[in-house]
């Protein structure tokens, strides 16, 4: 069997997998970051710009992660501190990031956006440093959520905030922590998309991957390892597309482009919302004074 298929599959699904695992943590705390698409797009752009300027893909990844974190924290101020509607905030963040990255990109690289080339990450047998980080994170996040007091408190905040609050935990602080992790992983995923996968940036290059990642959180039942597996399965569809094209099969390629979204939707239909969802997901909470 050709082992390279598996590596390629992992590389292609890493952006969605990272973002989905992070979003899973945020949602465990009760915050749904619809702005994940914006987080990833801003990080993809920020990472690309820094990687090109410094000729260092590693610095690019770091910068992208920081940008993703910053964007997510801005959204968090609205959805947590100001208790604003999370869907409205997320939608505005996505729109804003699309505008900001688009404008900056056109300013720097010209109206139509000529192809830019980003230095690639060092690899060993086609595997770069982010892949082992991804696998380690899946385990670490599982441990943090299920085997630590912090994780218990986070889950309580997502299920029944008042209980967590009366046990002396700060809802606000825990939700910010969840959002920060979502921002860092979403940022790393976005930066990896431009630096590790595509080696370039294009306007709106995330093309809905953030939304697919949100769907993967439901698919993976809010658990980090199943989320990772779900993301690899769906991300693998991208790879399948190239393989089919190489084989010259007569299937409209649009079907393959649409496949991750169709599959994500199908999965949501099959699993439904169920009872695994944090009970307070998407609901703002005003901390009692």
């Amino acid at each position: 069997m050709d082992f390279s298929i598996f590596i390629q599959l992992l590389v292609y699904s890493t952006p969605v997998a990272l973002a989905a695992m992070g979003e899973g943590i945020g949602q465990k705390g009760g915050v749904m970051n619809i702005g994940l698409e914006g987080t990833m797009l801003s990080a993809a752009f920020g990472g690309a710009v820094v990687a090109i300027a410094t000729h260092s893909p590693a610095l690019g990844l770091l910068a992208g992660t920081a940008v993703g974190l910053a964007v997510t924290l801005v959204a968090a101020v609205f959805s947590i501190t100001l208790a604003s509607d999370q869907v409205v905030v997320g939608t505005a963040v996505n729109l804003g990031v699309l505008g900001i990255t688009g404008t900056l990109f056109r300013n720097q690289f010209g109206q139509s956006g000529k192809l830019i080339s980003i230095p690639s990450l060092p690899e060993l047998y086609g595997i770069d440093a982010v892949i082992p980080i991804l696998l380690a994170l899946a385990i670490a996040l599982w441990f943090a959520v299920n085997r630590t007091t912090w994780g218990l408190a986070l889950r309580a905040v997502g299920e029944y905030p008042k209980a967590a609050e009366s046990s002396g935990f700060s809802i606000t602080r825990l939700r910010y922590a969840g959002c920060a992790i979502a921002g860092i992983l979403g940022g790393l995923g976005g930066a990896y998309l431009s630096i590790g996968v595509a080696n370039s940036f294009a306007e709106n290059m995330t093309g809905g991957r953030g939304f697919v990642a949100i769907a993967m959180v439901t698919f993976g039942r809010w658990k980090s390892v199943p989320i990772l597996i779900a993301s690899v399965l769906v991300g693998g569809l991208d790879v399948l597309q190239f393989r089919f094209q190489a084989m010259g099969l007569k299937v409209p390629f649009q079907l393959f482009v649409a496949m991750p979204y169709i599959v994500a939707l199908a999965v949501l239909v099959i699993v439904g919302r169920g009872t695994a969802a944090p009970a307070s997901l998407g609901k703002a909470h005003q901390e009692s004074k």
């Binding site: 208790a83 604003s84 804003g96 649409a258 239909v269 703002a284």
Partner: protein, 339 residues
């Protein structure tokens, strides 16, 4: 927020967002403001472009508002806009031999039906399987875009089979223009009329009342025996029909054909338009005109700088965030409204 302050606050937020956006992108503020203003209002051509651009925004904004009033977050205006247009173009292809007026009305009708179907898919999945409408409508956007891509390079492609686009509609099957020199078409009257109709439906009909009830107080709706699922499904279909109609107006009024770049985010931009209007159907008229002016103005700006329509996204996003921060209405879904 006190309703009295809402309008001044919105205007201030808008002005601040525009200036801030110029400042962030280091555009000369005075010169850019003048360019923006001139592009939108300076002469008849500018005014016409402002109104022209506001047509699809008015309908997609109205579509977003209807669903949101019923407590359904329809983020799929883009997909409904596109799928509506595909349905309309399909009809156009089959109806070439019909009289032009029938063609035009048929296209608009099927655009609305297509939009309603596409939104209805998300509605059925929500009511039957509990699939979050926010996620499903977003995912369906991407599916619709690929469907468009496939349709215009396959079954709906022009007879010459060169470019990925449909054949142009005959001029007689297009929405009549108001003036020979301007691009402005009668679609604006349709859009404004729809705002009025939806206002009346929401305010004076049983269905409208139920939509508002389900949106504002789901528990009360359930307690009084209103089938929330059915009402929300209806609201979503109506919302989709409006977004599809927006696609139809753009198709029969401006482009005359559909191609890969058919939707310029019109469906998505309906959301900030609706929020700026506080989800009020009548307030959507000025809100969409502001949106149209921003687009018309930014086109003028784009001729002198690299910054173009992308600036509008930033401006819209920051106004929405300012409103959301200031207005209680957009405080998050409260703790009890899980019905």
């Amino acid at each position: 927020m006190n309703p009295k302050f809402r309008l001044p606050f919105t205007v201030l937020a808008l002005a601040a967002s525009i200036l801030l956006t110029f400042a962030i992108f280091r555009l000369p503020i005075r010169a850019s403001s003048i360019l923006l203003y001139e592009g939108a209002f300076a002469d008849r051509v500018g005014m016409a472009r402002t109104i022209l651009k506001s047509c699809p925004l008015m309908l997609t904004g109205l579509g977003a508002a209807v669903a949101w009033r019923a407590g359904i977050y329809n983020i799929g205006g883009e997909g409904q806009f596109v799928f509506g247009a595909i349905s309309g173009a399909w009809f156009a292809k089959l109806a070439v031999n019909l009289p032009p007026v029938v063609q035009l009305l048929g296209i608009l009708f099927w655009c609305a039906v297509g939009g309603a179907i596409w939104a209805g898919v998300a509605g059925v999945l929500f009511v039957k399987r509990g699939v979050d409408v926010v996620i499903s409508t977003i995912l369906l956007n991407f599916v619709a875009l690929q469907l468009l891509d496939w349709a215009v390079s396959g079954p709906l492609q022009e007879l010459k089979h060169q470019l990925p686009q449909s054949d142009l509609l005959p001029a007689s099957a297009m929405l009549p223009k108001l003036n020979r020199q301007l691009d402005l078409h009668v679609g604006i009257f349709l859009a404004v009329a729809m705002c009025g109709v939806i206002f009346l439906v929401l305010k004076y009909t049983k269905f409208g009342f139920r939509m508002r009830l389900v949106g504002a107080a789901p528990l009360a709706a359930r307690a009084s025996g209103v089938a929330a699922g059915k009402v929300q499904l209806g609201a979503l279909a109506l919302s989709g029909a409006l977004c599809g109609l927006a696609g139809g107006i753009e198709y029969c009024g401006v482009t005359g054909q559909i191609g890969q770049g058919f939707s310029q985010q019109w469906g998505f931009l309906g959301i900030p338009i609706a929020l700026l209007a506080n989800l009020n159907p009548l307030a959507i008229i000025p809100s969409a005109l502001v949106g149209g002016a921003l687009f018309a103005g930014s086109e003028n700006l784009a001729r002198f700088t690299n910054a173009g329509s992308t600036l509008v996204y930033v401006i819209q996003a920051s106004v929405v965030l300012a409103l959301v921060a200031a207005d209680k209405r957009f405080r998050g879904r409260s703790e009890v409204s899980t019905a």
